[in-house]
Symmetry: C2
Subunit: 208 residues, 2 copies
């Protein structure tokens, strides 16, 4: 355990400046995600998460003040494979090229059974556990939507999209289609999803 890494007081979700063992954090997040994907929010109690991670309940509570915060971060850890667009990229690379570049990794990530399972469970919680959806939305989805928004605003400046484009609705159409597609039959594989993503981006006006 290294104490100096966390001495600035910005130590993770709770910000208490406690020394943290990243191995323990990872084990807790993994256990939380597994339980959530297997059985939803009900199945993922702090007690069960601690038991599966092989740590005490207090160890979990020291790191996350609520099950919702922990689950929001655990859910996010399942999305790590989704490619991200950096501000640097948006500045220097044309939108069509950025989109084309991201297609293979996005298709692979969407095709994973784990992604489908947690997307299904996450959407399933939005009505039954709005606090979880709110935490997930605020901490993890909104920052990414802002990044996509910057890219679409560049597309507007470049004349790729028209100036009256409703950017938020367009993001919903692209993201909504991807999530909906992997949750309805027949389940697509990665190759089918590459073609599908190309169609979606073309319909969105981002690919020629």
């Amino acid at each position: 355990m290294t104490t100096d890494r966390w001495s600035d007081g910005a130590a993770g979700p709770r910000g208490r400046g406690r020394p943290r063992d990243p191995g323990v954090d990872a084990a807790i997040l993994k256990a939380a995600l597994e339980l959530f994907v297997e059985g939803g929010v009900e199945a993922a109690s702090m007690q069960r998460i601690a038991a599966r991670a092989g740590v005490g309940k207090l160890t979990v509570y020291r790191r996350w003040s609520s099950k919702e915060e922990l689950l929001a971060q655990a859910i996010e850890s399942a999305r790590e494979n989704l490619p991200e667009v950096t501000a640097e990229d948006v500045e220097h690379v044309p939108v069509a090229e950025l989109v084309e570049r991201a297609i293979p990794a996005t298709a692979d990530a969407l095709a994973e059974p784990g992604f489908r399972a947690f997307a299904a469970q996450t959407l399933g919680t939005s009505v039954t556990h709005p606090a979880l959806m709110a935490a997930y939305w605020e901490h993890y989805v909104l920052p990414r939507r802002r990044a996509i928004r910057v890219m679409l605003e560049r597309a507007i400046r470049d004349g790729v999209l028209s100036t009256d484009t409703d950017v938020e609705a367009l993001i919903d159409m692209m993201v909504g289609a991807m999530i909906y597609r992997v949750l309805h039959p027949p389940v697509p594989d990665s190759a089918e999803l590459r073609d599908y993503l190309r169609s979606v981006y073309r319909l969105a006006g981002l690919l020629p």
Copy 2:
């Protein structure tokens, strides 16, 4: 109970030509939907459905051979308020007008808490209970997608959409956006959804 209505052997989901009391059917469907929306597939056992509907378990099994079939129809009954486009309409009314006409009722239906709840539960089941999603998809979603497809094909013939439009992906983008929008915060009301739907249809190229 009227027997003549069902004497043609096409008596409802099981097709056994049994006399049917529509009041009993409605009570069973209502009970199934309530239990499903409250607690998902697990909570909606045939036994509990029968108990809430005030009928015997056998009465339920006589009408639906499986919980999946019953739940698929129950889920569909919650969507009854969504407006449908008839073949007649598609033949005679321009697409932009059809879409514009459907906006108020669609916005009202999407804004209902009941719609959000069952959309969340239905998507939540797609991984955990694929048989339910498959039944729902085949019997209820596909026929509607075919109707939308006919409308979009007319839009292509009319030159409203380009001839190389990927119609299935476009349907996913519109439907996916609507479902995604009502499941993410902040929850929109009916007036906001009318504006939202207009944006979506405009981005899809169906409204000017």
